[in-house]
């Protein structure tokens, strides 16, 4: 099975402080990988580096053949192949506050991928159904519960159909029953050649649902 993501000896420094040092891991298609460790150990930083939101100082990141090198984050114009391959679900969801749930999901389909309104709506409806939030399609983000907002955020990240989905602390806002449902959902998302990298400090969730677990130590 080909490697979807290769992180090779990744190092990030904030000033004199090493936030990450020598992190290496791989994610294959159809695989859920958990990145574990206590808060502040650099899990989120690693995800942000893979999503090209954050520069890194050492090592190399390769996503489906697209390589990121140490140094400043390249301009967006050069990141188009990466943006097509990688989706990120933020811990705080970061939904667009001025748009309904449906339009949160369709916005990139229409304006980045150039899909028609009808096409985008159909994709959104299907995604929201898969994630069990279809009845909330016309709600505003501020009207959603934590769990609903998270599922909408997943739907939004999945809309452009990225091969690699990154998730930052997906279980933070969920009760135990919901965690189980989320795990099942993530497994379904992994079918069709997709890979998942999940940053979490929830060991139980990681052990129950991940194929492999990397543990970061301070």
């Amino acid at each position: 099975m080909s490697k979807l993501l290769t992180i090779d000896r990744l190092g990030v420094r904030f000033g004199a402080r090493d936030v990450l040092r020598g992190l290496s891991l791989e994610v294959s298609r159809g695989e859920i990988v958990a990145l574990m460790g206590p808060s502040g150990v650099g899990k989120s930083t690693a995800l942000r580096a893979v999503a090209a939101l954050q520069p890194f100082d050492e090592g190399r990141i390769v996503i489906d053949g697209f390589a990121l090198e140490p140094g400043a984050v390249p301009p967006e114009s050069r990141l188009v192949p990466l943006r097509r391959r990688v989706g990120l679900v933020f811990q705080a969801h970061a939904l667009f506050e001025h748009l309904s749930v449906r339009h949160n999901v369709t916005l990139a389909l229409r304006h980045v991928l150039g899909r028609s309104g009808a096409e985008a709506d159909a994709t959104a409806t299907q995604l929201l159904e898969t994630l069990d939030v279809a009845p909330r399609a016309d709600a505003w983000p501020r009207q959603l519960s934590g769990g609903e907002a998270q599922r909408v955020a997943i739907a939004r990240a999945l809309a452009p159909n990225p091969a690699l989905l990154l998730m930052d602390e997906p279980t933070a806002a969920l009760d135990p029953a919901r965690r189980g449902i989320l795990g099942t959902t993530l497994r379904r998302l992994c079918e069709e050649q997709r890979g998942l990298l999940i940053a979490t400090h929830d060991g139980e969730f990681a052990r129950a649902h991940a194929d492999r677990v990397f543990i970061l130590t301070p």
Binding site: R83, L88, F90, F96, A108, V112, R156, A157
Partner: protein
């Protein structure tokens, strides 16, 4: 001690700061005041500075006992206050550019031309009357220097003012700058004005004035200030014979209020036009400045920050003067355009800060989420950051527009007659601020209240509950 009021900004020969001792004033009105004080048996005369157009209101409030500063004898003044005998006769004269001296001989020759004068004077009332009869365009100023400099620069085609003021301006501007037409348009008189209740004091002042005319001391004062001429002798004789004709009383107040309503409505239109156009300019320039401060290169951010600080840190009044008078050597802007430019560029600095704050209030995580979805920087601004920032900015923008509506009153200093200026003219004319002030307030509220309502509706329409995360 006699306390008297006048405007030293009116300058010589009326009242001016003494160049030898600027804390003192001198001028023929100063000496007339001193002569009156002596005649009343007071030991000295103390001067109170008051803006010329506010002398009537100020004397009625009790700020001083008598106002003397080229105060004109008008029917309204006689009806509302206690007015002394006339002590000087002036001629309203027309000044024109030398090239026009053969073409313009009277107001009738000024159809469609701009004619300047001081606001709230007999001359201004004459120009308003002439607007309706001959179609000239009256332009009102707050001072008597700029009408003549604007005559030279071509902003106006004639100036109608008292001959003393015209002659002084001619001396200052070098003798050949303009021509004073020999034939006067009208004559009028300077008087002292006292509070309505002070008619006993007024009668005493009249007695002193008569005495000063008889004993030649008034003539000496006028000669010393080079304003004596034959017509003053004729006036004195008439006064002493008791045959001086005072101006007849004007129409009743109610009639004047109704007569003023159309010009008040027109002035409200000017206020609205100036405000709307200035706000449009402020929004456009403000957006550019805010974009420069949020997205620009380092040098651009510095330039925009300097603009904002300089414009916010200096008075709007100063900016108006600089744009209208200061730039007139380079580009001679029409008053209305200068007003819109000055207000617009001033408010742009405030708008820029609102937009910058609003842009920065949109949660960073949303912008990063948008990047991961592949939106370009422009798309993020247009689809995500801009629309949310607009909602944050809406309420402060409405506040600013209401403030601008009221600040637009300042543009009257560069001859734009807007609502407040028209109200002041109106108030002087009817001799009271009560009704004009009330009408003016109603007009401003009628313009600002619907705006506030509209803003609230828009906020509700857009969901209202946008909170910075």
């Amino acid at each position: 001690m006699l306390v008297w009021g006048g405007d030293a900004a009116g300058g010589a020969p009326f009242v001016e700061a003494d160049p030898a001792n600027p804390s003192r004033v001198r001028g023929f009105d100063v000496e007339v005041a001193e002569r009156i004080a002596r005649g009343l048996g007071r030991r000295s005369a103390r001067f109170v500075q008051v803006q010329w157009s506010s002398i009537d209101q100020s004397v009625e409030r009790g700020d001083f006992e008598i106002g003397l500063s080229g105060v004109e004898d008008t029917p309204t003044r006689r009806a509302r206050h206690a007015v002394t005998l006339p002590y000087f006769e002036f001629r309203e004269v027309l000044a024109v550019r030398p090239a026009d001296r053969d073409r313009i001989r009277s107001l009738a020759d000024l159809r469609g031309r701009r004619v300047a004068t001081l606001g709230a004077t007999i001359a201004y009332d004459m120009l308003l009357a002439a607007r309706d009869s001959t179609g000239l365009l009256p332009v009102s100023y707050d001072d008597d220097v700029h009408p003549y400099t604007d005559l030279m620069s071509g902003r106006v085609d004639a100036v109608l003012l008292d001959h003393i003021i015209a002659q002084r301006a001619l001396r200052r501007l070098g003798g050949t700058a303009f021509v004073i037409l020999a034939h006067e348009v009208a004559t009028g008189h300077y008087v002292g004005v006292l509070a309505r209740a002070d008619s006993v004091l007024r009668d005493s002042v009249d007695a002193v004035l008569r005495e000063a005319m008889r004993d030649g001391s008034l003539e000496q004062i006028l000669r010393r200030w080079n304003v004596w001429d034959e017509s003053q002798g004729v006036l004195f004789e008439r006064v002493l014979r008791g045959g001086v004709a005072t101006q007849p009383a004007g129409p009743p107040v109610a009639e004047r209020v109704i007569a003023y309503l159309p010009s008040l409505a027109r002035a409200a239109g000017v206020t609205l036009a100036v405000s709307v156009l200035s706000m449009a300019l402020a929004v456009i320039v403000g957006l550019a400045l805010a974009s420069a401060r949020v997205y620009g290169a380092a040098w651009l951010r510095v330039v925009a920050a300097i603009y904002v600080e300089v414009v916010r840190g200096t008075p709007l009044l100063l900016q108006l003067f600089v744009i209208y008078y200061g730039l007139s050597g380079v580009v001679r802007l029409p008053a209305f355009l200068a007003a819109v430019l000055a207000l617009g560029l001033n408010y742009a600095a405030y708008e820029a800060e609102i937009y910058r704050g609003a842009l920065q209030a949109v949660a960073r995580a949303q912008l990063e989420a948008a990047r991961t979805l592949g939106f370009s920087e422009m798309q993020i601004l247009r689809l995500i950051r801009g629309p949310q920032a607009l909602r944050y900015a809406l309420a402060p923008m409405t506040n600013d527009f209401v403030a601008l509506l009221k600040d637009s009153a300042l543009v009257s200093v560069i001859t734009v007659v807007e609502l407040t200026k028209q109200t002041a003219i109106f108030a002087t004319n009817v001799g009271s601020w009560v009704i004009p002030g009330l009408l003016c307030a109603i007009a401003y509220l009628a313009m600002s209240l619907p705006l506030a309502r509209l803003a609230r509706r828009l906020e509700r329409h857009w969901g209202g509950g946008v909170h910075p995360a």
